[in-house]
Symmetry: C2
């Protein structure tokens, strides 16, 4: 067998929850043209002049809230999945790379190549493809190798939104939660993207809808909603919005819900702060009674097993 390497890629986190580090992180993230497609001539003044003067303070407070003794959950769980993979594939080199923080994708690739791997598997930790996430990882990985002679066999995974193990995992978790207490509906919340990106060819919402459908096929006849969260900026985003939906559901008699975010492999600001706190409050303040959040894989070895399945190891 060829010497094999696996690169797990996730978004990244600020180094700590100080305003300076959060600003640095946001600047890197929001300077990616896969994320913000506005031309830099227009975008840079807005980013540097307005956004990076307002948002870091607000975001830093949120990051402080989700920070535990183990640091930020996104990094903690991504590292845990690297360890899980090393345990179940001891002959394989595994490392993590972050799109907008350290260790960067480039650093991670340096590490893997220094171990003389002959076959590289790249797994962006996003079940559904979007140019804003997976596309950005693709560009970084391939630009690392273009014009160089360090090329090895490369397998890049676009998405795994319909992988049976992935679907099974969320169905089972939801089923367990359903057995604990009766609910009126399940809300599937995915990270949103601007509608214009979809019009330009990003078929992210198709994959989200397919995931929801595949999970629901295993759960039977339960009412469900698919929503999009984390809208940023004034442009039109995918709809319906998670917060709007949650504010309205109680008035329709939906007072007991499960909420799940299958687009996330590990918990992060968008799930812990937005789903577990902010949106919970919207729901309860508007007459909701039971709001149960179903966590994604986080440190569960099942994700490492899923990766092993995806790359046919």
């Amino acid at each position: 067998m060829k010497r094999t390497g696996i690169l797990l890629v996730n978004l990244g986190t600020p180094k700590d929850s100080s305003k300076t580090e959060v600003r640095k992180y946001l600047k890197t993230f929001l300077s990616d043209r896969r994320v913000i497609k506005i031309h830099p001539i227009i975008w840079k003044p807005i980013l540097n002049g307005i956004i990076l003067n307002i948002r870091p303070k607000k975001s830093a407070k949120l990051y402080q809230k989700i920070c535990t003794e183990n640091g930020f959950p996104l990094l903690e769980y991504t590292e845990k999945q690297m360890e899980n993979l090393k345990n179940i594939c001891p002959e394989v080199e595994v490392t993590i790379g972050m799109s907008y923080s350290e260790p960067s994708i480039e650093t991670a690739l340096d590490t893997l190549l220094s171990k003389e791997i002959e076959e590289l598997n790249v797994i962006p930790m996003y079940p559904q493809y979007s140019g804003t996430t997976v596309g950005s990882v693709f560009d970084s990985v391939m630009n690392y190798f273009i014009k160089s002679d360090r090329i090895v066999d490369i397998k890049f995974i676009r998405s795994f939104y319909n992988n049976p193990q992935y679907i099974d995992y969320f169905s089972k978790k939801i089923n367990e939660a359903l057995n604990e207490s009766p609910i009126d509906a399940i809300v599937f919340s995915y990270h949103g993207i601007p509608m214009s990106y979809v019009k330009d060819g990003d078929n992210y919402p198709k994959e989200c809808t397919k995931t929801t459908k595949l999970i629901m096929d295993k759960l039977g006849d339960i009412r469900y909603y698919q929503t999009y969260q984390s809208k940023f900026g004034p442009s039109e985003w995918l709809k319906p919005a998670t917060d709007d939906t949650l504010k309205k559901l109680p008035s329709k008699g939906i007072k007991n819900i499960l909420i799940v975010a299958p687009g996330f492999v590990v918990d992060c600001l968008e799930t812990i702060e937005e789903l577990e706190h902010e949106n919970r409050n919207y729901f309860l303040e508007n007459g909701g009674e039971v709001y149960k959040y179903v966590h994604p894989f986080n440190g569960d070895i099942e994700f490492a097993k899923l990766v092993k399945d995806i790359i046919s190891l």
Copy 2:
């Protein structure tokens, strides 16, 4: 199973053996900065002012010599391998792309994506990696997807210089030739590259040497030589040169040889014209007696089987 596509990539050929078409082909080929690393400011005047005024006429004559009723062997056999693959993998979409002629890599990728493949396998038809061949294919394929949302699962094959089926194929063919008549030595001739490329990190000659060794391990105790052919331009290239070696061998008592070019999957100008004619003459003119050229895969279904093995279909 995901809908799978295979892209077989080869170098290309002129459209026909007219001076105009040969010039067009050479211009495309010699404008690739993976092939010629001299800065365009220096290279372009040399290419347009000197090389493209001299070489097309000479090359056109050679292309006329190797043209058959089926056109140029490189294209004929590459197409044949596409058909072979379709026959042994009927559920897979297969197409060919040429680095420097039609159908281009971009056209081939358009074709495969229009068939809604979910997994793309790219096989450059070069057993040994070199930036000048495989690296160039990598850049073209990845640049097609970078900044786009057409990304699918992608598996890119760097090289297969040590694949057991590949090694077996050449060992068996050489063995068959050895059984026909006794010879004094085997000459393994690989396409050369400039020494400076190797110094810059292209480990092509290592893979050539490894291939030779693996084949020889299966053949037993026979004298052999490893040489490099097709030198172009004044810079230092990999040595020893095939032509120099063949001119000298008879004086050393090596008068009966087999010559084989395992770096080529299909016959082309470099094997038919250079090995079968030009170098044969050098050898015979200098006292050589038996000169037997062992052909590569060409249309043999064994190459399609090898591809199937390489991508684990």
